[in-house]
Symmetry: C2
Subunit: 243 residues, 2 copies
DNA sequence: CAGCGTTTCTTGATATAACATATTTGTTGT
DNA sequence: ACAACAAATATGTTATATCAAGAAACGCTG
């Protein structure tokens, strides 16, 4: 059974033409491929990622594969077992809540800063992203919706103008993303029919109200994560009972 | 001229005996060596770190060196130029302030959580670290003082019990540490004779007062960083005038 | 059949070689 | 002396071979 499904999607499409295909290094492409598999939850928690096997599957040598695996480990998106083998980390309820809370802290700060700096054009872009997101979600294309939701959060945080903050948020996402995807695979929708949290964020930006923006994105993260927390609680309770 | 001075310090001394010397991988040792050089500001901003040269200097092959360099790049402790060569990033005033602020946000949160969870034993450990720190500082051993200060901040954050938070703080430190060291090399002492900020943190922990702890560590970071900000402002002003 | 030692397989870690490209150096012709 | 082209060098990137340590399979003996 193949470890990674065949998805060489470039993520950052290079040019409007199919054009001079991305001259990324193999290492970079391997990184994107593995990260993509992780984000789309095609890798089971606890699964081993053996360098040689992954290399075979991607038809490249182990060197660039090893580089990308180690990079993902350093980003805490993957872990190492006692022997040094790369494994997909298990998402515990505890870890999930922890990451959610740190996301709220840092994305909240990002939103607050964004509220101060964002121009009307910036906000319009964000609004457009959200509308795309809603449209995609309506079509039940959860994978795509996931990506567009990520896009919203990243774009918002980028508006803070803080490189360091963005780095942190990006990094938290790669740890949290797989959990979200895991949920989507379960066929549940984390968001409800009410007014979507993103809207409140956009309104706060328009008012240039930092604290309102902070609260809005924090509420969005909390709401979006609640379904995951519920489900993980249920699963952990079940497995405990089985023990 | 050698890129890295000879310092193979194990950081995490393994055992009380000189004992079964650390069976770290070469990659790990290279990482520690390069990181150490960075933290002790033996690398000039803008300097190139050529994999083969570093490998020669450490008497190992390029593979583990490349791995550690890439790891440091992924941690934003080093950067890549357009060609892919690793370079020591230049510290701008802007970046310095940015990292300081994000440190305040996250270490503040760490301290607040620590105030809730810390036992008296935990606090005693922290107190001991601070006393060591003061003693070392008095002896004008700035390098060692720097390490002990780092130890204080890390230990405090670890008391928060949040793995994710600790990872972020650790990562911010590796970006900020070189700047601190740079300052120390200039012979300036960032901390003053008054009651040290760490003391206020410890008091807040004893009172189990989260917000007081948050304020205390934030104030400490702000105060400690002020000298750096002043100096960088001065330097940037000068270089602007020269232009 | 059980236990134990040996061989083989797996797999991470390291070294080295092969390759590609950009930069530098050197040479030559006018 | 200078411009243009060619050779050499520097350096990141990838592939492959080797090593070592642990795990697993295998077979031998009692």
């Amino acid at each position: 059974m193949p470890i990674l499904s065949t998805e060489a999607s470039g993520e950052k499409g290079s040019g409007a033409f199919g054009g001079p295909i991305s001259r990324d290094s193999l290492s970079q492409r391997a990184y994107i491929a593995i990260r993509g598999s992780l984000m789309h939850s095609r890798l089971r928690p606890g699964q081993k990622l053996v360098a040689r096997q992954v290399a075979d599957e991607l038809n490249i040598s182990v060197t660039p594969v090893r580089e990308s695996l180690l990079r993902l480990v350093s980003e805490h998106a993957l872990s190492l077992d006692e022997r040094g083998t790369v494994i997909v980390p298990k998402v515990t309820l505890e870890r999930c809540i922890e990451i959610r809370d740190i996301r709220m802290l840092n994305e909240g700060e990002g939103a607050a800063r964004a509220a101060i700096r964002a121009s009307e054009a910036d906000i319009a872009v964000l609004e457009q992203i959200h509308e795309n997101y809603r449209a995609i979600e309506q079509k039940n294309d959860y994978q795509a919706a996931l990506t567009e939701n990520e896009n919203f959060h990243f774009t918002l945080c980028r508006l803070s103008g803080s490189e360091a903050l963005f780095g942190i948020v990006e990094n938290l996402w790669i740890q949290f993303g797989p959990v979200l995807a895991y949920l989507y695979d379960g066929g549940q929708r984390p968001f409800h029919g009410e007014i979507h949290g993103h809207i409140h964020v956009i309104n706060a930006l328009r008012s240039h109200d930092p604290e309102q923006a902070r609260n809005a994105i924090q509420h969005d993260i909390l709401t979006g994560g609640q379904v995951i927390v519920d489900r993980l609680s249920a699963e952990e309770k079940t497995s405990t009972e089985l023990t």
